[in-house]
Symmetry: C2
Subunit: 343 residues, 2 copies
């Protein structure tokens, strides 16, 4: 029932594989991540991206590390694996699912005081597999819940890639579209290309095409004009971190879309599993926003599009305040904001 | 005093030259346009772009056509040149300066009933040169007038390229920056890269660098987040056509910027010469918006960034309603909207 529809990452006989998303849509290149450094790099360089997928691959990375080590001493083992957990935490700062998954792995290490190193290894593998399976199930349920919002004939705008490739294989925003399509609803998706890394143009189009859902690719700066012409009925995106009050970090450009949607009276929904909600922080001001290398803007697929030394501002995410969000599509149902009020 | 600071196009001994802007910023490739078909193609394929520059090159194109023909019969000459004028009108539909310039050339043909073909040719060349020189002067005065709005230390956002390259050599929005800089004001420009054709990333950065004006390049979808953080004090763009009520066609993305600026309480000014104002039409609904080939979105510098067959929506312009515009910077001063009310 909850089988992933896209194999974004998978664990097989103690080995960890991903699709290297940098080569999509031209090439479905499968890569084995052989050690913790491979896992760190694959997250940092965007071979694997999308908050839930980052959480899953990070957890499996720790499982991999655990299986690979020959350390027999329990304390030493815990020390080494804890170091790896802290190392993976430095790969990307914004996606909360990374920290959510790693804190579960950390908890396994801490709570099982009376078991052997071999048992600990098996527990860590099982925890990673649980995180992965729960993500698939959550995403499926997000689709089921979100589809209740979708009416036949709707034109829906999405930003970046909140699809199977951004999760363990079902997607968040795209899961809603997949389920709506299965239910026989005719929908049409406008896909923001999503500069600078073009996850919309490269990945979301690829997934929608596979799923047989009609779509139209646009540049990010066209969304407002489309809304003005009545071309958009709803906006659904994913999220990288959601604060307790509902303020949401998501791919750069989401905030602009949210303002535009508000101005045009269009509902914006955020689709995300519980692992994206960071209840430890009060609001969006506390969410760290990653700034990435300027060459992501100056170059597209390696080709220079500006002066080679052009000064660049390149925040990977922005923060959308909860007042611009209509609601949150989660595995437990549609939450109308705020998520949890006050402290 | 009004010497162009960038040689975008020039007429020399009866020959017409342009910088082929498709190769900027890597290469300053100079091309001679040898006949009316060359002129048509250079406009259509964006070798030369920007509403005022299109007007100038179109006028020179007609002068070129006139000089090249051996026709001695006056009626036949007028017929052939009129055909060329109508042909050039089909190159791009939105920029009003094209029609403004060509209607002046048409008027020369129509009004000089008692002069010879040779004299007509000289009159057409002179009219093209007048259009060119007036554009330089207008752009310079736009700079002088616009600079009165600029305060020391301002961060100003611009979209697309409304610079020397978009005009006979001085610019509209960028003229304001050039003059403010000359006046010793410290300014910093945020440059929208301006997908799909990247005129901001390729051309505006190149001009600002030449002028020694500090700038930062951003993706179009970052502007809203910058505004939210208080990073933008003012927005100035050019225009491709302005209706009688002030509704303005400009590069796709301008409308989104205008909504975002309004939401954040930031003033948006449009900088444009009188040749961009189309007083024959009441409002923006009557402005034709050019849709261009989907490959402009699917490919960047020839390199595919999406599925090869991705359906695309690619409007080259959008319409910003006058209620989102603070004012118009023209050669005659700052006009507060509406330009001309009623009919």
């Amino acid at each position: 029932m909850y089988r992933p529809i896209i194999k974004t990452l998978w664990w097989e006989d103690g080995r960890l594989y991903i699709i290297d998303q940098r080569y999509l849509p031209e090439r479905e290149k499968i890569v084995e991540l052989k050690n913790i450094r491979d896992v760190w790099s694959s997250i940092r360089n965007l071979s694997i991206r999308g908050a839930p997928a980052i959480g899953c691959v990070a957890a499996y990375g720790i499982a991999l590390s655990a299986l690979k080590t020959n350390i027999q001493d329990r304390e030493k083992f815990i020390q080494v694996i804890t170091r790896d957990i802290n190392y993976i935490k430095t790969s990307r700062p914004t996606a909360y699912n990374l920290f959510f998954a790693l804190s579960r792995m950390e908890k396994v290490l801490k709570e099982r005081k009376n078991i052997t190193v071999e048992e600990l290894k098996q527990r860590l593998v099982k925890e990673a597999e649980d995180i992965y399976r729960e993500d698939i199930k959550c995403c499926y349920m997000i689709g089921i819940n979100g589809a209740t919002l979708i009416k036949d004939g709707m034109n829906i705008l999405t930003h970046c890639n909140a699809g199977g490739l951004a999760t363990s294989g079902y997607g968040t925003a795209l899961s809603v579209f997949f389920i709506a399509k299965k239910q026989g609803k005719r929908i049409h998706i406008f896909v923001d290309e999503t500069r600078p890394v073009l996850q919309g143009a490269r990945l979301t189009t690829w997934e929608l095409k596979k799923a047989g859902i009609p779509y139209t690719l646009i540049c990010d700066n066209m969304a407002g004009y489309l809304m003005k012409q009545g071309g958009i009925d709803m906006v659904i995106t994913g999220a990288d971190r959601i604060a307790r009050n509902g303020d949401t970090a998501n791919k750069i450009g989401t905030y602009s879309l949210a303002v535009l949607a508000k101005y045009h009276g269009i509902d914006l929904y955020i689709a995300a599993p519980h692992s994206t909600f960071d209840l430890s922080i009060r609001d969006g001001r506390e969410i760290p926003v990653e700034e990435r290398d300027g060459d992501e803007v100056r170059r597209i697929k390696g080709h220079l599009i500006s002066p080679v030394d052009a000064p660049v501002y390149n925040p990977a995410f922005d923060i959308t305040p909860v007042n611009l969000i209509k609601g949150f599509i989660t595995e437990n149902g549609i939450i109308n904001k705020p998520v949890i009020s006050g402290k």
